[in-house]
């Protein structure tokens, strides 16, 4: 197939490989092995699972971005397609960049009409090789995956020792599996060395850009944050893409929260009957002074609505981790979006608003999860950790987790028996400190003081049922004041100034972050300079207002159709919508740097403004 006229992409340590597989074929661990090998060679990678809501038989993809510069967002486009799924062949072939590579199993020859004339086709008789080597059909399937990893390693110039080392770690203590895996790897390597010597223009070479970074999924990181943050109760209901979070909490707790002396668990995990019960358990535990959380996704958030209103109004700490997926309704359960933002911010009937945290990578998933547990107790209210499938279910290169051993859990304003005995006045819903946050007692605090009846009905400052307008308004205004206090406590936004004076600003959050940064670099090369502010918490603080005020236009980049963060900026923060321009990506795939760059460049061109004259600006 290959002719000399076809352009050949040439790249070193900077390309995108996509694997097209059939779900349930055992490809996932082989593909992960492939991705991890780059990290061991000091080259950052960013892999993404693109999978169906299905267990076996449907198409699944794994995209590995090899990026020496450390661009961890999705770039867009595919340089090398490893096409192992006949079902999706046409679509997969179409996606390859001109001059890119198609690697496929050529045991059965395909007619030329199945290919393109502007790509390089590399065939390897994988089925023939596995049929000749293995008799068991499952072995043929599983080792085929390792064999193609070996072949790719050979073509790309990866260090085989590194892959062998990873296989060794994976099958430590399982010698029976170790050897055949190493053999399969060697088989692939040998084939590539002998038959595919100059087929590939994409190459890798050892680099030193990974540093001390770690490689972990956001869900596991958030679960670990809950362990470190002192959560003892986890109640959940299985739902993609959040299930692995509760499972990771179980895993970490079983390693680190079992009392050595007694063998007893310092944690309780309940797989509840539904999301209503999950949040009910969390609310009950929070009311009684244990740190508790639930993890869920959009449909679960909808179901939790009534309880969240109770927790808001009765002022009970609760942490809800929302690993967002494509909505509405069942939507796209295995695709990513940022489309629960407005829903979570105002969840439940009546006037309610909630504290939201927006982590952008696994490192922040860890730290914000622990922070959320503190904030929930400090503010006595539900706190939402708004992550998404892209962060939650993909392994991501991220800064190592840190913990200061002198850090103490912030249990908030807890009224103790000593305080009650000393004569301190207790008014469960009274603002004593002027920050809107009242004091609470836990059940059984004191034999004769501090008991009260918690309810979702309106009450006076002393927790007695009251429908008096003045009592109701006092309480609602105090809750509003508490929300103002929250502005100063949530993680503050992160500013990335442009290298040159900029007319434009951009606001973004969550999983958009890595693509945003890559897009900003590319825009800067086009002489489009944009200051960037990454929002990390809601309610918004003053810094955000200053940012909007100091730019003529501010782009708001989001992964939903309805510009949900912009809605909060306009509705809650009162920002003039005329100053905001939405850039929206919501097809369920993670937003790419190319998309952001193109959108911003086009809008800037249409606005027909020239860059600020640097010299003139300095003179002024």
């Amino acid at each position: 197939m290959t002719t000399t006229t076809i352009k050949r992409l040439e790249a070193l340590n900077d390309f995108v490989v996509k694997f097209a597989n059939v779900n349930g074929s055992g490809s996932a661990s082989a593909n992960e092995l492939f991705a991890k090998a780059f990290l061991r060679m000091g080259i950052p990678v960013s892999p993404r699972n693109i999978f169906p809501s299905n267990i076996q038989g449907l198409p699944t993809w794994y995209e590995v971005r090899v990026t020496e510069k450390g661009h961890l967002g999705r770039r867009g486009g595919v340089d090398l397609m490893v096409a192992m799924n006949p079902q999706t062949w046409a679509q997969d072939v179409k996606e390859i960049e001109p001059g890119g590579y198609l690697f496929y199993d050529n045991t059965k020859p395909l007619p030329p009409s199945k290919f393109r004339d502007d790509i390089n086709v590399i065939g390897m008789p994988l089925t023939e090789i596995t049929n000749a080597t293995y008799t068991d059909s499952r072995e043929r399937q599983l080792f085929k995956n390792i064999i193609y990893v070996g072949a790719l390693a050979g073509m790309l110039g990866m260090e085989p020792e590194v892959i062998a080392e990873l296989i060794g770690e994976q099958y430590k203590g399982k010698e029976k599996l170790l050897k055949p895996n190493l053999n399969a790897l060697q088989l692939g390597l040998n084939y590539a060395r002998q038959n595919l010597k100059d087929a590939m223009g994409l190459k890798v070479k050892r680099a030193y850009n990974v540093g001390d970074k770690i490689f972990i999924e956001g869900n596991a990181a958030a679960a670990l944050g809950c362990v470190y943050g002192g959560a003892t109760v986890c109640a959940w209901y299985p739902i993609t893409p959040s299930s692995s979070l509760a499972e990771a909490f179980q895993f970490y707790c079983s390693k680190m929260r079992v009392d050595k002396e007694t063998g007893k668990n310092k944690f309780a995990i309940i797989q509840a009957e539904d999301e209503l019960a999950s949040i009910g358990i969390v609310v009950g535990a929070g009311w009684n002074g244990a740190r508790a959380f639930t993890s869920t996704s959009g449909p679960g958030i909808s179901l939790m609505s009534e309880f969240i209103g109770l927790a808001y109004f009765a002022e009970i700490p609760a942490v809800i981790i929302d690993v967002q997926r494509g909505g509405p309704s069942t939507g796209m359960p295995t695709r990513t979006q940022q489309s629960d933002v407005v829903k979570a911010a105002y969840l439940s009937h009546g006037d309610t608003k909630h504290v939201l945290l927006f982590p952008h990578d696994p490192n922040e998933c860890f730290h914000f999860a622990a922070e959320a547990l503190d904030l929930a107790e400090r503010l006595q209210t539900p706190v939402f950790l708004m992550t998404d499938l892209d962060i939650g279910m993909n392994q991501r290169l991220t800064d190592p987790f840190k913990w200061d051993d002198s850090r103490r859990y912030d249990r908030g304003k807890l009224m103790t028996a000593e305080m009650l005995d000393a004569g301190k006045e207790f008014g469960r819903y009274k603002d004593f400190d002027g920050d809107g946050i009242p004091y609470r007692t836990l059940p059984a605090t004191h034999p004769s003081k501090g008991a009260y009846f918690t309810r979702g009905t309106s009450k006076n400052p002393y927790a007695t049922y009251s429908e008096a307008g003045a009592d109701y308004q006092y309480n609602m205004q105090r809750l509003q004041k508490k929300f103002e206090t929250a502005k100063t406590l949530v993680p503050q936004p992160v500013l990335t100034p442009a290298k040159h004076p900029a007319r434009f600003g951009v606001i973004y959050y969550g999983s958009t972050s890595p693509s945003m940064h890559e897009a900003l670099e590319a825009l800067s090369e086009q002489n489009i300079h944009v200051n960037a502010l990454r929002v990390r918490g809601f309610p918004f603080g003053d810094e955000l207002f200053d940012f909007v005020a100091s730019h003529s236009k501010v782009f708001v980049v989001e992964q939903n159709r309805d510009a949900q963060l912009k809605t909060l900026l306009v509705n809650d923060a009162g920002i003039n919508p005329a100053n905001l321009i939405s850039i929206l990506h919501y097809d369920g795939t993670p937003i790419t740097a190319r998309f952001i760059q193109k959108e911003i460049a086009e809008i800037v061109a249409a606005l027909n403004v020239r860059p600020i004259n640097i010299k003139k600006d300095k003179a002024a």
Partner: protein
């Protein structure tokens, strides 16, 4: 719901329990329910039971859903924390509260609308899990606060006050609790404090999910002729399988006991004993399968079967299932819960 405060002065000769508390120490606010409401009699039985058990009032947590019944925790145990949650969801909140501090006594108070309709799912699952609690269902077959609609426990053929006849099959909550795995299942009548009080005491001592369905007539909307949840109907059709006495220990058992048809069942961890005088000769409350068929037969005949219908002598609670640490979770701090930075460094190293 009341603005009236009860007088705090006590008569000096009020009887005291072994902790020195009088019955007044177990009371709450003045009830705002209708005069003659069965629920107030249940509150009185609860006060009596806690007084006799000599529980420190503040060591009880009272949780309820929404409805007339769910308002009652404000009317007893005024020194206990209470939580009026959302409609039909008390069981999950109670479960979470129980996980947070296993040292308290958990009392769930609910109604038939709360437990058998909107909350039937949570009702079933809290029994399955064996949450250590006493769950009281104040069952009147009618929605009182919304003025007289049938509830899911209304019997087929029972008449509403305005004349409509219920066509739907009634949900039998004791049968359901039993099938769902409750390890202590009883039914009583709000008009029979002598039967109800010891049942509550035994339920509190029970380690695991204790369920007591209390038929509690609604004087405003369901106490007329033709209703199967009226005082008259229940009195006429009450079929008690046993009379129960609860003793805090074997030594305490009164000597005046007539031997014969008596069954003893250990109750709870601290050596308490339940003594049952058999009223139905063939009734063994530790035989679950027999209990299920007995309940079904009684329902067919239109009888209101009361007494301790089932008790498992070797029950386990949720904490045992989860193998949880003995100290309450809400008292654990960083030392117990945070694995620390050295461990985190190790975890980081494993992720490279």
């Amino acid at each position: 719901m009341t603005y009236l405060a009860k007088p705090k002065l006590h008569h000096p000769s009020l009887p005291k329990n072994k902790l020195g508390f009088t019955r007044r120490d177990y009371e709450g606010k003045v009830s705002t329910l209708c005069a003659g409401c069965g629920h107030d009699s249940i509150s009185a039985a609860l006060i009596e039971a806690f007084f006799e058990l000599a529980v420190e009032p503040h060591k009880v947590a009272k949780l309820s859903g929404i409805g007339c019944s769910s308002k009652t925790p404000d009317y007893f145990l005024g020194q206990s924390h209470g939580f009026n949650t959302v409609h039909g969801r008390m069981p999950s909140v109670l479960t979470g509260a129980n996980l947070a501090n296993r040292d308290l006594i958990y009392l769930g108070v609910s109604g038939d609308g709360d437990s058998a309709s909107i909350g039937i799912g949570q009702f079933a699952h809290v029994m399955r899990r064996g949450v250590n609690m006493t769950y009281i269902l104040e069952n009147n077959g009618v929605y009182g606060l919304t003025k007289g609609q049938f509830s899911a426990t209304a019997d087929k053929g029972s008449k509403a006050k305005k004349g409509a006849t219920n066509k739907d099959t009634a949900i039998d909550t004791v049968g359901l609790a039993l099938l769902m795995g409750a390890t202590f299942v009883a039914r009583s009548f709000s008009g029979d404090k002598r039967q109800l009080t010891p049942l509550i005491k035994a339920g509190i001592a029970h380690q695991g999910a204790a369920f007591i369905d209390v038929i509690s007539p609604c004087v405003a909307f369901n106490n007329h002729a033709g209703s199967t949840k009226s005082y008259d109907y229940v009195r006429e059709h009450n079929e008690a399988v046993n009379r129960l006495d609860f003793w805090p220990s074997r030594e305490a058992i009164g000597a005046d006991y007539a031997e014969g048809d008596v069954i003893e069942v250990p109750a709870g961890a601290e050596g308490s004993i339940i003594r049952l005088r058999k009223l139905a000769a063939d009734y063994d409350p530790t035989d679950k399968v027999n209990a299920v068929s007995h309940i079904a037969r009684a329902a067919e005949k239109g009888e209101v079967l009361t007494g301790l219908l089932y008790v498992s002598p070797d029950s386990e609670d949720l904490h045992a299932h989860l193998n949880t640490y003995p100290a309450p979770f809400n008292k654990l701090g960083e030392k117990d819960l945070c694995p620390g930075s050295a461990m985190l460094d190790k975890i980081n190293a494993g992720l490279r």
